[in-house]
C-alpha cells in the first residue's frame, strides 16, 4: 500500500475502531439533568430535591461503570492499536487543558480581588462615599464583613500537603517505570503508595477545613478571602478525590493483570491527571497560602 510513504498515523494501521452504538451517553445526560434539577430544588428549599440528586448520581455511577467497563473490555481485547492510542493522548491532553482553564477562572478571581477590588475599596473615593474606615490589606473579607477571622497559614498542614502531593508525583512515576519494566509487584506497591499519599492529602485538607471553621472563624462566606480560599482549594480537593478514585481503579486493574509494558494509556492518562492536580496545588500553595 502507498500508506508507507505517508506521515500520518494512519500509515501504521488501516482500521480505526469505530465503536458500535450504545445507550450509555443518554443515561449520562439523564443523570446530569436529574442532578441539576435536584440541586435547583435543594438550593431553593423545595421538597424532593435530594431524591433527584441521589437518583441522578446513582445513574451516573451506573453509566460510568458500564461505559468504562465496555472500553476496558475492548482495550484488553486488543481492539485499540497505536492509532487509537494517539487519539486518547490528544483527547486527554485537551481535557486537562480545559481543566487548567477552569482553574484559571478562579485564579483570575483571586488576582482580581487582591490587586483591584480590595485595594479600590480602601481607596479615597470608597473611603469618602461608601466604606469609611475600611483598611484594605490582604487577607480581607471586605468592608461589610465585621467578624474577626484568621487566614490559613502556609507552613503548617499546607506545607505538609505540598510534600505529600509532590511525593505522590514521584511515586506514580516509579510505578510507571515498573509497569514499563513489567515488574508487577513493585508497580502495585508504588501505585498503592501514590493512592495512600493522595488519601493522606485529603485527610490533612479535611483537618485543615475543620480547623478553619472551628478555630479561625474562616468560612466559605468569609468575604473575598473565604470565597477564593475555599472555592480554589475545594475544587482542587475535589479533583484530588476524583484522581485518587481513578488511581484506585487503575490499581485494581493492575492487580487483575491489565496493561502491558507497551500498551497502558489508561495508566498514563491517570498519571497525567495526577500531575496536573499536583501543579495546580503548587499554584495554590504559592498564591493562596504563601504570598
Amino acid at each position: 500500500m502507498a500508506h508507507s510513504a505517508s506521515t500520518t498515523p494512519a500509515a501504521r494501521q488501516q482500521h480505526y475502531a469505530v465503536p458500535q452504538p450504545m445507550p450509555w451517553p443518554i443515561l449520562g445526560s439523564t443523570s446530569l439533568f436529574l442532578m441539576a434539577l435536584g440541586a435547583v430544588f435543594v438550593f431553593n428549599s423545595a421538597k424532593g430535591g435530594w431524591v433527584g440528586i441521589a437518583a441522578g448520581f446513582m445513574l451516573l455511577l451506573y453509566m460510568m461503570v458500564r461505559w468504562f467497563g465496555d472500553v476496558i473490555r475492548e482495550s484488553e481485547g486488543g481492539k485499540y492499536g497505536r492509532w487509537e492510542d494517539v487519539s486518547f493522548r490528544w483527547g486527554m491532553s485537551f481535557f486537562i487543558f480545559s481543566e487548567v482553564m477552569f482553574f484559571g477562572a478562579f485564579f483570575g478571581a483571586l488576582f482580581w480581588v487582591r490587586q483591584y477590588s480590595v485595594p479600590d475599596l480602601g481607596g479615597l473615593e470608597s473611603q469618602a462615599y461608601a466604606w469609611p474606615g475600611f483598611s484594605a490589606h490582604w487577607p480581607s473579607a471586605g468592608p461589610g464583613f465585621t467578624e474577626a477571622f484568621s487566614a490559613m497559614g502556609a507552613w503548617g498542614l499546607p506545607a505538609v500537603n505540598t510534600l505529600l502531593l509532590l511525593s505522590s508525583g514521584v511515586t506514580v512515576t516509579f510505578a510507571h517505570w515498573n509497569l514499563i519494566a513489567n515488574n508487577r509487584q513493585k508497580l502495585l506497591l508504588w501505585l498503592g503508595a501514590t493512592i495512600l499519599l493522595g488519601v493522606a492529602f485529603l485527610v490533612c485538607q479535611a483537618t485543615e477545613y475543620h480547623h478553619a471553621y472551628t478555630e479561625l472563624n474562616l468560612k466559605l462566606s468569609t468575604g473575598a478571602y473565604g470565597s477564593t480560599f475555599f472555592m480554589l482549594t475545594g475544587f482542587h480537593g475535589f479533583h484530588v478525590t476524583v484522581g485518587a478514585i481513578m488511581l484506585t481503579v487503575i490499581w485494581f486493574r493492575c492487580l487483575k493483570g491489565h496493561f502491558k509494558p507497551d500498551h497502558h494509556f489508561a495508566f498514563e492518562g491517570v498519571a497525567w491527571y495526577w500531575h496536573f492536580v499536583d501543579v495546580v496545588w503548587l499554584g495554590l500553595f504559592i498564591f493562596v497560602y504563601w504570598l
Partner: protein
C-alpha cells in the same frame, strides 16, 4: 463505494471489524439515541439547531412585536427582559453553535478522509447533552419569577438577585459548556489524528482549519464561562462574595471573566462561518482559494488576538485610560487578519468563472454584510465612539450583522452547498434563490435601520421608547416578521429536497474539489472512508 476512484486498495481484509453493520442493531428512535455515526449525529445537531432557531426566533418576534409601537403593548418589562435573555442564550448556544458543530460532524471526516470522528461515542454524548440543557433553559420560563431577565451575558449583580429560573439557566450553561468541550476535544483529535495518508495539515480544506482553531478556542474559553457561572451560583446560595463589594468582591470581576470567554465566543461563531464561505466561494468561482496559507495564518491570528481584546465590551465600566487604549489597539488589530480574509475571498472571485447558485448567493450576501458588520465593529472598537454608542441599538445592529448576516448566512450557504451530498437530492434552485433574496431584504430591513436608532440614542433591552424612534422601529418589526416567515420557506425547501428532490450527481458543483465531492458517491454512504484514500 464503487465510485471511490483512484487511490484505493480494496484487497486487504476487514476481518474482525464490525463497522460494516448499518445502524448497529438499534432501530427506530433508539437508532438516533444510541448512534455513533458522525452523519447521524451531524443530522441531529442540524435539526436541533433549526428547532432552537425557531424557538429563539419566536422570542425575537415577541421582542419586535412589543417594539412595533411606543408604549407598553403586549408584555410587561420583566417578560420583555426574559425574552431578550432567552433569545440571546438560545440563539448563541442552541442555534448557531450546534449548527456549525453539525457541519463539523458531517463534513470533517469526509473532508479529511476519515472513517468517522475519533471518539464516536463521546460524539453521541456531546449531542445528547444539548436537548437536556435546552430543556433546563426553557423550563426556567415555568418557574416562579420566570426565566432570568438579565440579558444573555448574565451580568452580576442582577444574576445574584434573580429567582429559581437563574439556577436552571446556570446549570444549563454548565451542561452546554460540557457539550461544547467534549465536542471540541473530539474535533481537535479527529483533525490531528484521523487525516488520510498524504492529507497534510496544509492540504486540508479550509473549513477543517477553521474548525480546528475554533475547537481550540472552545476548549480554552468554555471552562472559563463555567467558572463564572459557578461563582454566580455560590454567590447566590453559599454566601461567597465574588461579585459583592461588601465582601471585597466586584461585579466588574464577573464582566472580565465573562468576556474572557465572551469575546473568543464571537470567533467561535465566526470562524466556522469563514470556513464554510472559504469552501463555497472557490467552488462557484471555479478557482482554488486565493492565498490558502495566508487564510490559515489569518485564522490563527484572529484566534490569538481574540483572547486579548475582551474588555472592549466594557469601555464604560470605569477602567483606566491605559486599559482602554490597550484594548482599543488590540481590537483594531483584528481588522488586519479579517481584512486578509475578505481580500482573499474577493481575490478568489477575481477573473473566476462565476455562477450564482443559492450557496454562492448566500456567500456573497455574507461577504457584503459581514464586512459591513466588521466595519461597525471597527467603529465600536474606538473608545470615544463606543462611549456614545454603548448599549444602544447601534451595538445590536452591529452584532446581528455578524451573527445573522455572518454566521446564519454562511450556515444557509453551507446547507444549500452540501444538501445534495447529504440527501442525494437537489434542492429547488428557484425557491432557494427566493429564500436568499427575501432573507437578504428582510434582514436589512430589520437591522440596517437599527444603526440609525442607535446613533439617535435608542437604548437596547428597553421595551418602550420615545415617539421619535417610531418609524424605524416599525420598519424593523415588519422586517422581523417577514424574516421569520421566510425561514418557514427554508424549512419547506429542505423538506421538499429530502422527499422529492431530483437525484443529485456525485459532484453537482463544478468547482468543488474536496474529498467528499471527488471521492464519495452521492448521497454519501453511511460510513465514509472505511479505507482511507491517499491524497497526493
Amino acid at each position: 463505494m464503487s465510485s471511490v476512484v483512484d487511490s484505493h486498495d480494496h484487497d486487504h481484509a476487514h476481518g474482525g471489524h464490525d463497522h460494516h453493520d448499518h445502524h448497529g442493531g438499534y432501530s427506530g428512535v433508539m437508532r438516533w439515541i444510541t448512534t455513533t455515526n458522525h452523519k447521524d449525529i451531524g443530522t441531529m445537531y442540524l435539526w436541533f439547531s433549526f428547532m432552537m432557531f425557531m424557538v429563539g426566533g419566536v422570542m425575537a418576534l415577541a421582542i419586535r412585536l412589543e417594539l412595533f409601537s411606543p408604549g407598553m403593548q403586549f408584555f410587561n418589562p420583566d417578560q420583555f427582559n426574559q425574552f431578550i435573555t432567552m433569545h440571546g442564550l438560545i440563539m448563541v448556544f442552541g442555534a448557531i453553535m450546534p449548527a456549525f458543530v453539525g457541519f463539523a460532524n458531517w463534513q470533517i471526516p469526509m473532508m479529511i478522509g476519515a472513517p468517522d470522528m475519533a471518539f464516536a461515542r463521546l460524539n453521541n454524548w456531546s449531542f445528547w447533552l444539548l436537548p437536556f440543557a435546552g430543556t433546563l433553559l426553557i423550563l426556567s420560563f415555568f418557574t416562579p419569577g420566570g426565566a432570568p431577565g438579565v440579558g444573555w451575558t448574565l451580568y452580576a449583580p442582577l444574576t445574584v438577585q434573580m429567582g429559581i429560573g437563574m439556577d436552571l439557566t446556570i446549570f444549563a450553561v454548565h451542561i452546554l459548556g460540557m457539550s461544547s468541550i467534549l465536542g471540541s476535544i473530539n474535533i481537535i483529535t479527529t483533525i490531528l489524528n484521523m487525516r488520510a495518508p498524504g492529507m497534510t495539515l496544509m492540504k486540508m480544506p479550509l473549513f477543517c482549519w477553521t474548525w480546528l482553531i475554533t475547537a481550540y478556542l472552545l476548549v480554552a474559553a468554555m471552562p472559563v464561562l463555567a467558572g463564572a457561572v459557578t461563582m454566580t451560583l455560590t454567590d447566590r446560595h453559599f454566601g461567597t462574595t465574588f461579585f459583592n463589594a461588601a465582601g471585597g468582591g466586584d461585579p466588574v470581576l464577573y464582566q472580565h471573566i465573562f468576556w474572557f470567554f465572551g469575546h473568543p465566543e464571537v470567533y467561535i461563531i465566526a470562524l466556522p462561518a469563514f470556513g464554510v464561505i472559504s469552501q463555497v466561494i472557490p467552488a462557484f468561482s471555479r478557482k482554488p482559494l486565493f492565498g490558502y496559507a495566508s487564510m490559515v495564518y489569518a485564522t490563527s491570528a484572529i484566534a490569538i488576538l481574540s483572547f486579548i481584546v475582551w474588555a472592549h465590551h466594557m469601555y464604560t465600566v470605569g477602567m483606566p485610560v491605559t486599559g482602554q487604549l490597550f484594548f482599543m489597539y488590540a481590537t483594531t488589530l483584528i481588522a488586519v487578519p479579517t481584512g486578509v480574509k475578505v481580500f482573499n475571498w474577493v481575490a478568489t472571485m477575481w477573473k473566476g468563472s462565476l455562477t450564482f447558485e443559492t450557496p454562492m448567493l448566500f456567500a456573497l450576501g455574507f461577504l457584503f454584510l459581514f464586512t459591513l458588520g466588521g466595519f461597525t465593529g471597527l467603529v465600536l472598537s474606538l473608545v470615544p465612539v463606543d462611549i456614545q454608542l454603548h448599549d444602544t441599538y447601534y451595538v445590536v445592529a452591529h452584532f446581528h450583522y455578524v451573527m445573522v448576516a455572518g454566521a446564519l448566512f454562511s450556515a444557509f450557504a453551507g446547507v444549500y452547498f452540501w444538501l445534495p451530498k447529504w440527501t442525494g437530492k437537489m434542492y429547488d434552485e428557484k425557491l432557494g434563490q427566493v429564500h436568499f433574496w427575501l432573507t437578504l431584504i428582510f434582514f436589512n430591513m430589520i437591522f440596517f435601520v437599527q444603526h440609525f436608532l442607535g446613533m439617535a440614542g435608542m437604548p437596547r433591552r428597553i421595551p418602550d421608547y420615545p415617539l421619535m424612534f417610531e418609524t424605524w422601529n416599525k420598519i424593523s418589526s415588519i422586517g422581523a416578521f417577514g424574516f421569520g416567515l421566510t425561514q418557514l420557506l427554508f424549512l419547506y425547501i429542505v423538506l421538499k429536497c429530502i422527499r422529492s428532490g431530483e437525484p443529485a450527481p456525485q459532484k453537482p458543483w463544478e468547482g468543488a474539489d474536496s474529498l467528499e465531492w471527488t471521492h464519495l458517491p452521492t448521497p454519501a454512504p453511511y460510513h465514509s472512508f472505511e479505507t482511507q484514500p491517499v491524497v497526493k
